[in-house]
Subunit: 446 residues, 2 copies
Amino acid sequence: MLSKNFLAKIPQLMQTNDLMEKIVSLCKRRGFIFQSSEIYGGLNGAWDYGPLGAELKRNVKNAWWKAVVHEREDIVGLDASILMHPRTWDASGHTANFADILVDCKKCNNRFRQDHLKGKCPVCGANDFTEGRAFNLMFKTQVGAVEDEKGICYLRPETAQGIFVNFANVLDSTHRRLPFGIAQIGKSFRNEVTAGNFIFRCREFEQMEIEYFTKPADAEECHKAWIEARFNWYLNLGIKKENLQLRVHDKDELAHYAKGCSDIEYNFPFGWSELEGIANRTDYDLKQHSQFSGKDLQYQDPVTNEKIFPYVIEPSGGVDRATLAFLVDAYHEETVNEQTRVVLRFSKELAPIKVAVLPLLKKNADIVALAKNIKKDLQKSFSCVYDDTAAIGKLYRRQDEVGTFYCVTVDVDSLEDKQVTVRDRDTMTQIRIPVDNIKQYLAEKF
Amino acid sequence: MLSKNFLAKIPQLMQTNDLMEKIVSLCKRRGFIFQSSEIYGGLNGAWDYGPLGAELKRNVKNAWWKAVVHEREDIVGLDASILMHPRTWDASGHTANFADILVDCKKCNNRFRQDHLKGKCPVCGANDFTEGRAFNLMFKTQVGAVEDEKGICYLRPETAQGIFVNFANVLDSTHRRLPFGIAQIGKSFRNEVTAGNFIFRCREFEQMEIEYFTKPADAEECHKAWIEARFNWYLNLGIKKENLQLRVHDKDELAHYAKGCSDIEYNFPFGWSELEGIANRTDYDLKQHSQFSGKDLQYQDPVTNEKIFPYVIEPSGGVDRATLAFLVDAYHEETVNEQTRVVLRFSKELAPIKVAVLPLLKKNADIVALAKNIKKDLQKSFSCVYDDTAAIGKLYRRQDEVGTFYCVTVDVDSLEDKQVTVRDRDTMTQIRIPVDNIKQYLAEKF
């Protein structure tokens, strides 16, 4: 029997599923996100970013890099390889522990995660399963021409370890003093048994991770500061406050070495879900790699000469999840002139297209030439498009739907008064600006 | 016996090997490039980009994206996944043909590329080999929880196919007309039997590829235009003309479907080698994918309604190779005051650090505070560093060696006259600029 609680939720669930469907559909129709290898039936857990999605994702990554590397004094970047020496994963614990327990139904032979089963087989209804066995989530491959144990390699399941194994190299080449951090953006791979929720849980995904090294005594303060900094990053890029929350992990959720972890969660249409985890990993990783590699990965204080293993604060975010949150949060419907206007209210930093230049009459060669000239001039500074394939009302709606910040329209008057109309995406107000001032006007806006 | 020719070349060879060694050493010492998983003995054919290398590589990729996507009217971006449906590689021909022929020495059991062998085994000297067998260069892995044929997946050996399988999706979402192109940057993987020459030939590498779709009748002209455009891209970013050449492929080098291919080659210390290939791939790829997927991947002319398979011009460059070429080309030694000055003469667009802010006296708190303030202000616009860990002469050399464009020095006078010294990397000339004008002054330079 359906509970009262559930019945009460139905309208809300319908609305949110509806929202997710609208976003997935808009993403495909307008070229944000496509199913990977769709013409061959797709590949589960992998997605391709189309022309607008590639720009949006680039903007998310660039905003992160700017905020955590370029605009800080204490962080440097890194770009480590996806294939790493397999001992890395022995040291990190992934070879032994990064696994789900799977069972097979003895009747229909389907395979399930043991922790997801509630009694009988969800496919055939039988209740007879094999013993659970550990299924490692790392993708395995073979490097080199000889197929043997020595050539086994894994696709990294996280970018973090690429930072830890480079700790000494970064220290030696930059002469950094504690506290300092190393930031990295890159692809990771997990052979998830169940991928899902669009680009939220993928087998191939992109991470943006920081390992921030600090003196053990300062770690707790530092952890707090990072939680705040990362929370604000999402707010600054336009996420609505009411859609963002912090969830402190219970003690029994923590890895044995971790001293604390907080998740930044977003209110997705499918429920509150993790965007980013910020953990205090103590000195676990550097100690493990020291032990497994035989290299001394301690930090030596240049003044006191004291050697210590620093503590590590790790803000670990998902690029695809963040992109999805920005998409969901930007999605807005309103009624204008009795028609539905869909607007993606992206922040200025994230909007895939900053300016669209539109000719009012595509049959007037002078208008078209002027519009194309303006576009050519603007594209050196902003991501721009030119579009003349519909009437102006439709062109505006098209740009609203993908979050274009400003539309610049060239009309017959423009040829006379050398002015163009600039339309604001959110307010839809229009003002006239001299053609010669357009670049400067927009430069001040971005 | 050594030939006269070879003997004559020895001084030049020693010099060039020396140059490569210097660059590899500088890259490690200053944090451009490290061996992957070095603390575990490294992973052959994979490299990690350190703090400065990550910035340099980002700049190379951003310069490419700006030139081929943002500053053109006819190209859109894409970011497809590394894991693709395996049928993709049946259609592209990689499953059947992307292989080297390997043989084993029957005496010492070592494995070699047949086409590299010259008679006897280079390890033990025996001359008894097994039959050659095809070794596919694609990395294989298993997707999903069930290990069977259906789950076999490959790491993409090129980004190009991610574009072809998305051709219809991009067309449907952008309503582009011929000619137009799709550009993509991303990692690819090839299980090379012999990787080498630093980051030149890797098993994990990054590509920047364009597939440019055009009417068959225009393909030849279009091919020429792309060769020129791509050649100029390297020149515009500072590569010396004498170090760049074009090599037209002979007919017998071409893939059976290709109508022509030209390589842009760089004069590396290890010889002229390919930076980028620009091929006329005809309509081969779209036809193959149409046939294998059963989807109609023809382009329909919106005016005449005529359906055709467009021809494809493919400028396919390597990010790592380009980065190495920019490093080698920038490397410069000169004698200044009887000491060797090493300078990386990167172009303004590529220099990993644009501005270094340096206090002349680190013990003067006012100078340090002013310098840090200037850095904080500048970092919003440029990639900046602050350094006070040595005397000014050494600080300058340090920045020269990594290609920092300008050094801004704060001295005692600065506290009085509110001016700072700006030093040019290449000319080493110094001028005084008011602190208030510094940002504007530099903005005009970049």
